[in-house]
């Protein structure tokens, strides 16, 4: 079991409030991703759950039991650090087995479990090496091995893939997701990579300035962002925002349209008129950055190749079903 609930969790460092009251319900076995800009408190929130920091207020429940006064070792969670934090003087075997040794398991059982975990992660040939004799990807896998071997209630990951190169990241991303589904263990995963968030998560927590902006499935966040911040943060390229007359006509202070929901017309009279200032041709997609005069710069995305170039005039027609409306407080208007 690994059901985690936060109730009004707060954290201050001295006079500075970093986490301003977080409420969250994480279902057993789900994969939850914390995303948000740098410095928004993702790591701090994760460390509060781990017990590496003490809360300044609120409750953290694991399987219904308040653990705010429980030391990290007794919370039954395991953590994968961004820096891997492997024990440099121990072999891979020693690293993976350390938690089991601390739990007082007999040697034979430790070896059996370590070898099983190593096999899952393709680490068997490296069991007797020291961390410094491994590549970055292998070290990462050792860190993950150390986490899974203890069969914790939940895994906590703090940007575990950010030190890997792009190709390896994609591969590890898939591996971590597969492993989590196979084990069925709750996972909380911190990242500021949107693609990781969208692809790995069952549910995403968008954090900003120490507050939870929205909590929902990736598609919910994409289709029904709760406010301007989430609308702008989720999706790449970013959502286009338009204020003024056009927004007022639709009864909103701001309206937003995603680049993929703007229909591009070469010489249409309707829609929003503008001149292409940059055109990016990726083959699979075409991105147009359009100077739309009073509306500002708009981004449009076309799936496939579109033979348009800088200087061409286009008109962009928003899909009326896909226009997001926000009030002057930045909150989404529905209906």
């Amino acid at each position: 079991m690994g059901q985690i609930t936060l109730q009004g969790v707060q954290k201050s460092f001295g006079p500075v409030h970093i986490i301003k009251g977080a409420d969250l319900d994480i279902a057993d076995g789900s994969f939850v991703v914390f995303v948000g800009p740098s410095g928004c408190g993702k790591t701090t929130l994760l460390r509060l759950i781990a017990g590496l920091e003490d809360v300044s207020g609120g409750k953290i429940l694991i399987d219904g039991k308040n653990v705010v006064d429980t030391p990290p070792a007794k919370r039954g969670l395991s953590m994968v650090f961004q820096s891997y934090a492997l024990y440099p003087h121990m072999s891979v075997r020693g690293n993976i087995g350390f938690g089991l040794k601390m739990a007082g398991l007999p040697k034979g059982e430790i070896n059996r479990k370590v070898e099983a975990a190593a096999a899952t992660l393709n680490l068997t040939p490296y069991l007797d090496r020291k961390p410094r004799e491994l590549s970055g990807g292998q070290r990462q896998r050792v860190a993950i091995g150390r986490a899974i071997v203890r069969e914790p209630k939940a895994f906590l990951f703090d940007e575990p893939l950010s030190n890997l190169d792009a190709a390896l990241r994609v591969q590890m991303r898939i591996e971590v997701t597969r492993l989590q589904k196979q084990l069925g263990t709750t996972a909380i995963y911190v990242t500021h990579d949107q693609v990781e968030a969208m692809t790995m998560a069952d549910k995403i927590v968008v954090l900003n300035g120490g507050k939870i902006e929205q909590y929902g499935s990736p598609l919910e966040l994409y289709e029904r962002p709760a406010n301007l911040f989430v609308a702008g943060f989720i999706g790449s390229p970013k959502m286009n925002f338009v204020t003024g007359e056009l927004a007022l006509q639709r009864g909103a202070a701001t309206i937003g349209v995603r680049p993929e929901h703007l229909k591009i017309e070469r010489d249409g009279a309707g829609g929003w008129q503008g001149t292409i200032s940059v055109a990016e041709h990726l083959g699979s997609d075409t991105f147009l950055y359009v100077d739309a005069g009073p509306l500002g710069m708009l981004t449009a995305r076309y799936i496939g190749e579109l033979s348009l170039h800088a200087g061409d005039r286009v008109s962009l027609v928003p899909d009326p079903q896909r226009i997001h409306r926000f009030d002057d407080g930045g909150n989404a208007l529905r209906g």
């Binding site: 990290p72 070792a73 650090f81 934090a85 938690g99 601390m102 739990a103 203890r150």
Partner: protein, 276 residues
């Protein structure tokens, strides 16, 4: 072209390093040579470098006149004892400053170091009087105490910098893995801190071994270490260069051997943890 320039640069710096090393080593070499000369040859002008009448009679005289082993034993006890006690105090001190610093930690560290800036002679009289009152003059305990206290700031500083280098993440990983503070210490911290501890120990041994000011002033015979032993050869009876050299060579030999076998650790120690 570029490669030739680099090889030349490497050659020049290698030559310069050897020359510099030789310059520094020369007095020790000269002392060693002089210890095998007769008193007359020892200050002959022009000096003879290798072609003199080699003799070991100085060593025999020195051993006969003063008890080398007695002084060497004192040196070992004083240097070893003061180092061990300093480490026992410094490890927990540096530990708490590195892992749970408070607002004042920086100030305390600076204050400790500032005590090393004061010339020891400034407190000689009060310390002498205190030692006299408590009967610590010319006692091994007295010397262990003063050297231990004198080197403590350096030992704490060195250990502090080493402990600071140990990534916090690793200690946190150990905590997540269920290690209690005691086990974290035994299985994670100590093995990682051993290189730093070793170089601190070595450096402090050498400092304590070579310390002359306090040992000369606070001891006369029964607790006198090798520094006093050397000093006794530049006495009112006049300077005996060859015998003085023999005594000095005997005095530095143990530490030279120790230094030779622990070069690597020492270099790391002297750079104060700046180089990984």
């Amino acid at each position: 072209m570029a490669r030739m320039a680099t090889t030349r640069r490497v050659a020049i710096s290698t030559a310069a390093a050897w020359l510099f090393g030789f310059l520094i080593f020369f007095p020790i070499l000269w002392m060693g040579l002089a210890s095998f000369k007769t008193e007359l040859e020892a200050f002959a002008i022009p000096p003879s470098f290798l072609f003199f009448h080699w003799t070991t009679e100085n060593y025999a005289t020195v051993q006969e006149r003063s008890d080398y082993l007695h002084h060497a034993m004192n040196s070992i006890i004083i240097a070893g004892g003061s180092t061990l006690i300093a480490l026992l105090i410094a490890i927990p001190a540096a530990w708490s400053m590195a892992f749970s610093p408070t607002k004042r930690t920086k100030d305390i560290l600076l204050w400790m170091l500032s005590t090393k800036m004061m010339p020891p002679v400034g407190v000689l009289v009060p310390i002498y009087l205190i030692y006299k009152t408590f009967g610590l003059l010319d006692s091994r305990i007295g010397l262990v105490l003063i050297l231990c206290l004198g080197n403590l700031p350096i030992v704490i500083w060195m250990l502090f910098t080493y402990f600071k280098e140990i990534p916090r993440d690793i200690l946190e990983a150990a905590r997540m893995d269920g290690a209690t503070i005691g086990r974290e210490l035994v299985y994670v911290l100590t093995p990682m801190a051993i290189p730093g501890l070793a170089s601190t120990l070595l450096l402090n041994l050498i400092l304590a071994w070579n310390e002359a000011f306090w040992t000369l002033n606070l001891s006369t015979s029964s607790a006198a270490p090798l520094t006093t032993f050397i000093a006794s050869y530049s006495s009112p009876e006049g300077l005996f260069w060859a015998k003085l050299s023999a005594a000095s060579t005997l005095a530095i030999a143990p530490i030279l051997v120790l230094g030779w076998f622990s070069q690597k650790q020492l270099v790391r120690g002297l750079t104060f943890g700046a180089v990984k």
